[in-house]
Amino acid sequence: MSNKQPLLEVKDVKLHFPIEDGVLFKRQVGAIRAIDGISFTVREGETLGIVGESGCGKSTTARAIAQLHPVTEGNIYFEGKDLTKMSTKELLATRKNIQMVFQDPYASLNPRMTVRTIISEPLNIYVKRRLLEMSQTEIENRVEELMEIVGLSRFYKNRYPHEFSGGQRQRIGIARALALNPKIILADEPVSALDVSIQSQILNLLKDLQKEFGLAYVFIAHDLAVIEYISNRVAVMYLGKLVEIADSVLLYKNPMHPYTQALMSAAPIPDPQIEKNRKRIILKGDVPSPDKERIGCYFYDRCPKKMEYCKTHIPPMKDLVKGHQVACWLYGKKGE
């Protein structure tokens, strides 16, 4: 897997939302550090899962990659080209390959549009901007083709989103994301709003599509089981920073970062015997507010294994074994 060319490379990306104050003239008094320096790569045909609790910056990461929010610092390379420094036109041409699937299938489809209009919209936009050449009949055929691909009957194409169930709507959202033949899909919690039975259907659909079209996914979720099922590699996020990245098998077998360990222990195991004897790690306190600049480990306040050294030194990402990266002073030498 490691010999594959990185498709997407995120390098030291920071995304801060300014906090403004002032009566007449607004001035910046601080920032919400939604993402505070993260780096990772996604290779072609691979699924990178991102987990973390609410508010840790998972969704913002996806939006930063899609350039929906301008990043404050850092670079995002897609096939070697920096998305953050592109002109609008170039960005559009490149973003054809980066599409998003959203969390809430009820909110992510315009209720005033029929399925046909929704799925054909990206095509129409790119045709209008002369980045794509397609006739109206071709678009029509493509819509029907996409509907069949995601498992919807093409007879539904004149219906409105409210006439579908959540799973069907998510299929429409996936069809829309597939319309432009992207290379990578940013899936922002695509199954968390669905029933468990429907979740597996959508996950299997995504897996099948990956096999068929060689798609890469950045898959965001907070359900550990879902991530384990779909991901090749998993990144764990805490407070705008990555704490651990590893192959999913490795990570689930041997979580190294204290936060990952705590996260893993929070997920129930469907075996009463093991569940009874299992010792849960319970973190104290709440997630601190991300509006402060930190000089020590971001997890220091809640870490069960904290040391004095962690208070004043930010741990770098360290490569341990087989691409298992951890940002913690417990591993490797201090001050390295």
Binding site: R95, A107, S108, L109, T114, I125, E145, F155, N158, H162
Partner: protein, 529 residues
């Protein structure tokens, strides 16, 4: 056969589902129409509004009296389906004279006096009339009887007539319409009627035309001395193009000829009436002095029937309500459309783009809100002159503010939804996001708001007309009709009632239609198919 070719083939034949039913393309508007048809009140409203539209559009060809014709004798006649104006006049006179006679003939008891004091004049008349009839002894004096008989005769013989196109037959025997003749020919034609030479007539006409232009100049330039006016007149005449000057001459000459024709027709028709044995309305062709022929349409003046009564100068209320509706509805719709267009575009852009754009637009709105809108309208009307177009303009300028605020609020509440983010991630332009995603989703509010704007505009216009700033006579609007009627409300209730009813019905229909449209444009509404 591959999948795509199969689809293409089906597309050619028209897509069918598993039950062989054809699947047609669908759009929001088509879908909305389907839903609207299910809503009974909305359909009735549409029919009512369509009726109003037909009536006001077809007003010129409807068999109604003209709304500008003033017949002073027919003031304030009550509505009647069967009785002619003449009968109503006689009835009125009879009541009046009989009541007066009774008043002089009888002495009233103190209770009756007290009761009379509280009554309106027409109720007093009724009181005396009934009293006289009850007693059976009161009779009209000889002079009163004569007045009554004179009126009766007048009602019998008085005519109203209209002269259609005049034709002039020249010496060669060719007939030509009067308005197609040039100035010297017209003068020649007039000379045949008056007996004076054509040259004299032309000279006189020149003088009169100059006088007319002088008067117009005087009105344009107030506070001007006579010498200055003379100077201005010469320069003005020199600068004037010949065709324009000729138009003055032509108008003058034509007027004279038509006056001759009217006098002639009056005499002829009087004789016809005296001879009797003619049915009115009468259509006939008259020949005047061998040179002129013209068609005349004559009807008996007092045989008109006013089913909605007449106003304070004897104009037909029905015609005035229909023509007034024309103006009121036009103001309602055009004002609404312009204000909603401006308000939606600016409000949507302010709401979506936010930041400085939003700040700028909304501060402009706030400032305009701060100004008293009546003052604004008055100033605008004063600056640009008083006509209906300026009224539209003035109303539209001040009324987009609320629309802009409402739309902005809607857009702000929608702009963070995921479907907008999805559109952004697809690379949709600001314009597309605003007008394809956000505005359609706030359409319900916009439509309801605009259907409520229509009545508001009609109200606003009527208020302006009431103040004397809106539609001016001889034109009418529902507002001005109601405004005029308020004065005689107790005595002549029909003058208030009919326009008010016409207006209320229309406003009701608009409101129901608004409700229906809101439901229809919302695919998620409860009133589904």
């Amino acid at each position: 056969m591959t999948d795509t070719t199969k689809i293409e083939k089906e597309n050619e034949q028209g897509l069918t589902n598993e039950f062989q039913q054809e699947i047609k393309g669908n759009s929001l508007t088509k879908d909305a129409w389907k839903r609207l048809k299910k809503n009974r009140m909305a359909v009735i409203s549409i029919m009512v509004i369509a009726l109003y539209a037909i009536l006001s559009l077809a007003a010129p060809i409807l068999p109604i009296h003209t709304h500008t014709k003033i017949i002073l004798e027919h003031q304030n006649l009550r509505p009647s389906l069967t009785k002619t104006a003449g009968e109503l006049l006689l009835e009125k006179k009879d009541l009046e004279l009989f009541a007066f006679a009774t008043k002089q003939a009888v002495t009233t008891t103190p209770e009756q006096k007290a009761a009379l004091k509280k009554m309106q004049p027409n109720q007093q008349f009724d009181f005396y009339y009934d009293l006289g009839k009850e007693m059976g002894t009161v009779s009209l004096s000889a002079s009163d009887q004569r007045i009554f008989d004179n009126l009766k005769e007048k009602v019998e013989i008085e005519l109203l007539f209209d002269i259609k196109t005049l034709y002039y037959i020249d010496a060669a025997g060719d007939s030509k319409a009067l308005n197609k003749l040039d100035v010297p020919k017209t003068a020649e034609a007039l000379s045949l009627l008056t007996g004076t030479s054509a040259e004299d007539i032309l000279n006189r006409t020149h003088k009169e035309a100059n006088e007319q232009i002088r008067k117009e100049l005087q009105i344009e330039n107030e506070n001007i001395t006579a010498e200055e006016l003379d100077l201005l007149l010469t320069t003005h005449l020199n600068a004037m193009r010949e065709s324009v000057y000729n138009r003055y001459l032509k108008e003058n000459l034509d007027g004279k000829i038509v006056n001759f024709a009217i006098d002639f027709a009056q005499q002829e028709l009087d004789e016809v009436v005296k001879a009797g044995d003619v049915e009115f309305p009468l259509k006939t062709t008259l020949h005047m002095a061998d040179y002129f022929t013209f068609k005349v349409e004559a009807s008996k003046k007092h045989e008109r029937i006013y089913i909605f009564g007449t106003d304070y100068v004897g104009r037909d209320m029905l015609a005035r309500i229909i023509y007034g509706g024309q103006i009121s509805i036009a103001i309602g719709f055009i004002g609404t459309i312009t204000s909603v267009l401006i308000g939606t575009i600016l409000g949507a852009l302010a709401g979506y783009i936010g930041g400085k754009t939003d700040y700028l637009i909304m501060r402009v709105v706030d400032v305009l809100y701060g100004l008293p809108y009546m003052l604004m309208v008055i100033i605008l009307m004063a600056v640009f002159g008083r006509n209906i177009l300026n009224l539209f303009f003035a109303l539209a300028i001040i009324s987009w503010l609320t629309v802009a605020r409402v739309v902005r609020g809607q857009i702000i509440s929608l702009k963070n939804s995921e479907f907008v983010e999805a559109a952004q991630s697809m690379g949709a332009s600001t314009w597309r996001i605003v007008f394809k995603h956000l505005v359609p989703n706030s359409l319900g509010v916009i439509i309801v708001f605009s259907t409520l704007r229509v009545p508001a505009f009609i109200m606003l216009e009527s208020f302006l007309s009431f103040l004397g700033l809106g539609v001016s006579a001889p034109y009418a609007s529902w507002g001005s009709l109601i405004g005029d009627a308020v004065e005689g409300m107790n005595l002549f209730p029909w003058r208030l009632l009919f326009p008010a009813m016409a207006m209320s019905l229309f406003l009701f229909a608009m409101n129901f239609l608004g409700d229906g449209l809101r439901d229809a444009f919302d695919p998620q509404s409860k009133n589904q198919l």
